[in-house]
């Protein structure tokens, strides 16, 4: 179902994002963080930690997770779920590559 309604928007090139890093996409009031892992996979999460709304885009990216810069919660890039003993979830968005172009599904 989702595939039918997903609107894929080009937001930039893969190389715009540093490896093990993130860049932000502003979408109205919402900020979406696009992550790039060391093996060039891309993920998109709302730029808000479920704990205290810390900007996840500013965190350290490691092994498919990002550590929030405010209080070190570890969030899965794939699911948006908090890892370890913490509980919480950040909304995630579909994202894919068309060649070098990053497409964000909204």
């Amino acid at each position: 179902m989702n595939a039918l309604t997903t609107n894929w928007v080009a937001v930039g090139l893969l190389t715009d994002i540093p490896r093990r890093g993130a860049r932000c996409v502003k979408n109205g009031d919402m900020t979406i963080a696009i992550f790039r892992t060391s093996d060039d996979r891309v993920f998109a999460l709302e730029d808000k930690c479920p704990h205290k709304q810390g900007p996840l885009s500013q965190g350290i990216v490691h092994d498919g997770c990002v550590t929030c810069p405010l209080h070190n919660w570890v969030i899965s890039l794939e699911t948006g779920l908090a890892q370890g003993a913490d509980e919480g979830e950040t909304p995630s968005f579909p994202v894919k590559l068309d060649g070098e172009t990053v497409l964000l599904g909204l």
Partner: protein
């Protein structure tokens, strides 16, 4: 019935906090909860006030529920809001500010008030009680001037207060009315041993001491006079003679009140919609002041509120532990002598051990342990269960390890405990709960166990038992004495990693991870910043700093704030500024609409609330006025605080300002394992507070005293003296060499005082003061690395470096978002 029932709680101590936890565990959405707290704060662990007083912990460490917890659970918490009236017919409570709130169910948890002996002088400034954080803060404040304190009351609270004040550097006298200390919990023999132990700590104890009056001068305490005419000088008097249930509010609303608010076994007052909980309660004629019974009551109320009408509280037998470092004391039950009772006593004077068990009908009814309390929980467990001990009577006093033949090791003693044996008395956690949590949730260390079960999370005295359970359950996989690995990605500790980086010549993060067999593909947020620092430090000319392994503050050269904005602090060398610098800052503040400007503790100016996108422009303007980054975000050199020294001060002995500026200009830009704060004071009056810094210099007539390893944050510690030198050049060489030694040996995030303690102060003095070759080599390595480090990061970014950090990748138009 869509509207939720309203639950109002008066009081926000440990008991109601625990009740709400149980309530939310049973049913998250049962009630709309409102709490009125007379204190201006959240729920914290009162058992831990003693470590806060002695300086071993800070307030932040003892918070049980932070503001977030209340909002997550939809609880409305009114702080500094004392309830002054309960209207039972209207079912409302009224707060001192005048607001009235309706309830369906009410829990009164007003706690207790410290009892103040009404002797003349009890209202003088400096007469304190010991109940809440305000008391502790006040005590720490008075203790700053050192001086002498008198503690009236030699019970649990009084003794903990006395030990804490002693740890704060005060002289302390304990006055106790009865012939021996803690007479309600201890027999006379143990009371005597305890008195000796306190005298050994340097605390004088006076028993049978009846206070006649507190002496004052100008409204302040100056001493205490006893009935027998003895006078003791003191600038502080702590009253710790006991507590009284706080019942005034309940009395006024016509609840049944004796000593406390009377409750039934279901914890209800004489009003079917009103419970009472905690220290304000009287149950079957008993009032309780220890946490374990209060937690049991809390659980009963939570069950009652959620419809388990048969949940009932049947009173508690309590056990006591004294939380004073170095003194082991445990008492439980009833130990008065009587005809139908027998006792078993073990004394070992040389080891300072005293144990006494009181038996009645072959059952333990009381236990006092002094010096060796390991068997306390075992005795207490048999006491509560009424176990028949006739079979093991001959060896009972030797403890659990001696039952059944051969002496066993302590691990076996824990192994032999039944699953329902209580390990953590404060939180009522039994062995079975801990063991199954370790197994099911894969817990591997103490912190995990605390997080998941709450065992050992209150007073902490059962920590040893919990660790033994971890050992027992995990076997060889648990080894607390082993080197703590850097993080979950490796088994190596920081020291090993640092050594191997040098020994194997590893020069990049992937190389380290490959050669040292990292268990993850690209590390984690703990090890990557550490490795990056070690490589920057060890190979300053060859290693390319990995920005993606730096914490955000060091990546964007500003300090991230709670709302995701940043703060910016330019360097003000030695804390000296000028009209043109101040004007430039004022212009930047106006231009970028910066909401807060604050003077920092390190003698410079902080601009807070700057949007990330604005940072390069802010820096550009600051740079034009000659400012560079103050590195207020760095694990690196922060500030060199100074006083005005011989430039202006009539007491100044040397040019402290000039020396501070020289040090800062020489050392700025260097990365260190953790932040490095310095100070130079122009005379021993020490206005720059150099004796609590990482490295401090105190100028004296004959030259310079170099200090190091102070702390004034989470821990408070005066500096150690490195040594004295006579010229500024020598100061530079010694300070820089010390900093380099720390840079090369410190573990990432390990402040200098922790490193110094680990390495040994004498070893550091030997290398820096007494070994000129070693000192010069350190100095030269620092100088070498500075040529790569002293690049102003703000200027680099104004010139375009890392542009991507400060701009969004894309801004979608509204159409595209639909």
């Amino acid at each position: 019935m869509s509207e939720k029932q309203k639950l109002v709680v008066i009081g926000n101590g440990m008991a109601p906090g625990r009740m709400l936890e149980h309530l939310f565990d049973i049913e998250v959405d049962a009630f709309d909860v409102t709490i009125f707290n007379a204190e201006p704060r959240v729920n914290y662990n009162r058992l831990m006030l003693s470590p806060v007083l002695s300086g071993e912990k800070a307030y932040a460490d003892i918070i049980t529920h932070d503001d977030d917890w209340y909002s997550q659970h939809g609880v409305t918490l009114h702080k500094s809001a004392k309830i002054v009236e309960i209207d039972r017919s209207a079912k409302t409570v009224t707060c001192e500010h005048g607001t009235t709130t309706r309830y369906d169910k009410l829990v009164i948890a007003t706690g207790s008030n410290p009892f103040i002996i009404p002797v003349p002088g009890h209202e003088l400034d400096g007469v304190l009680t010991y109940r809440d954080l305000d008391d502790v803060e006040r005590m720490i404040e008075v203790a700053e001037d050192k001086g002498h304190a008198v503690v009236i009351g030699g019970g649990l609270l009084g003794l903990e207060a006395a030990a804490g004040l002693k740890a704060q550097g005060m002289g302390v006298t304990v006055l106790h009315l009865m012939p021996t200390l803690m007479e309600r919990q201890l027999d006379t023999a143990a009371g005597y041993l305890l008195e000796k132990a306190f005298e050994d700590l340097g605390i004088s104890v006076m028993t049978k001491a009846n206070t006649k009056q507190i002496l004052g001068h100008d409204g302040k305490v100056v001493g205490v006079e006893l009935e027998d005419g003895t006078r003791i000088d003191a600038c502080m008097v702590v009253m710790a003679v006991g507590i009284r249930p706080s019942t005034a509010l309940a009395k006024e609303a016509d609840f049944a009140v004796n000593r406390g608010i009377v409750v039934s076994d279901s914890m209800l007052t004489n009003d079917p919609d009103v419970f009472a909980l905690g220290e304000c309660v009287e149950h079957r004629g008993m009032c309780y002041g220890l946490v374990a019974p209060l937690y049991e009551m809390a659980q009963v109320i939570a069950k009652q509120l959620t419809g388990s009408a048969d949940a009932s509280y049947e009173g508690s037998v309590t056990a006591t532990k004294l939380k004073v470092t170095g003194i082991d004391l445990y008492s439980a039950g009833d130990f008065a002598e009587a005809d139908d009772r027998e006792e078993i006593v073990l004394r070992d004077a040389a080891a300072g051990v005293y144990k006494r068990l009181v038996l009645k009908d072959d059952k333990i009814i009381g236990a006092v342990l002094y010096g060796d309390t390991a068997d306390g929980p075992w005795f207490f467990d048999m006491l509560k269960k009424g176990a028949d001990v006739s079979e093991m009577r001959d060896t009972l006093i030797f403890g659990q390890a001696y039952q059944g033949g051969e002496p066993l090791d302590p691990m076996a003693a824990v192994a032999a405990l039944p699953d329902d044996a209580e390990i953590c008395g404060c939180n009522g956690v039994c062995k079975g709960t801990i063991v199954s949590a370790i197994g099911e949730k894969g817990l591997t260390n103490l912190d995990n166990v605390r997080a998941h079960t709450k065992a050992s999370a209150s007073c902490g005295t059962c920590t040893g038992l919990v660790e033994q359970l971890l050992g027992l359950t995990l076997g060889d996989a648990y080894n607390p004495a082993a080197i703590t690995p850097m993080c979950g990605c490796t088994d190596l500790g920081h020291s090993d990693v640092r050594r191997l980086i040098k020994a194997k010549g590893l020069k990049s993060i992937p190389e380290v991870m490959q050669e040292l067999e990292w268990k993850t593909s690209c590390g984690c947020a703990k090890c990557r910043p550490a490795l990056n620092y070690y490589l920057v430090c060890d190979w300053p000319d060859e290693y390319a700093d990995d920005y993606q392994s730096r914490f955000i503050n060091e990546r964007v050269h500003a300090n991230i704030q709670k709302d995701g904005t940043y703060s910016v602090v330019p360097r003000m060398w030695g804390g000296v500024t000028s009209s043109s610098e101040l004007r430039a800052i004022a212009d930047v503040v106006d231009k970028f609409d910066i909401p807060t400007v604050k003077v920092t503790g390190g003698q410079r100016i902080d601009m807070l609330g700057i949007k990330k996108e604005d940072l390069p422009d802010v820096w550009a303007d600051l740079g034009k006025a000659g400012f560079v980054s103050g590195q207020a975000y760095a694990k690196g050199l922060r500030t060199v605080k100074t006083c005005v020294g011989t430039d202006w001060c009539r007491f100044g002995t040397q040019d402290s300002t000039g020396l501070g500026i020289k040090l800062e200009k020489f050392m700025w830009g260097s990365w260190t394992p953790a932040k490095l704060k310095m100070a130079v004071s122009g005379c021993p009056r020490n206005c720059a507070e150099a004796t609590c810094k990482d490295i401090g210099v105190v100028c004296v007539d004959s030259g310079y005293e170099i200090h190091f390893a102070g702390a004034a944050g989470l821990d408070i510690k005066g500096t150690e003296i490195l040594g004295s030198v006579t010229t500024e050049d020598e100061v530079m060489e010694h300070v820089v060499a010390l900093a380099q030694m720390y840079r090369e040996q410190g573990h990432y995030l390990e402040r200098i005082y922790k490193w110094a303690k680990r390495i040994g102060y004498d070893e550091i003095r030997r290398q820096i003061m007494n070994d000129p070759d070693a000192r010069k080599a350190y100095y030269e390595r620092f100088v070498f690395s500075q040529q790569f480090a002293q690049v102003d990061p703000w200027n680099e970014r104004v010139s375009g470096k890392d542009k991507h950090e400060f701009k969004p990748m894309a801004t979608l138009s509204l159409e595209a978002a639909e």
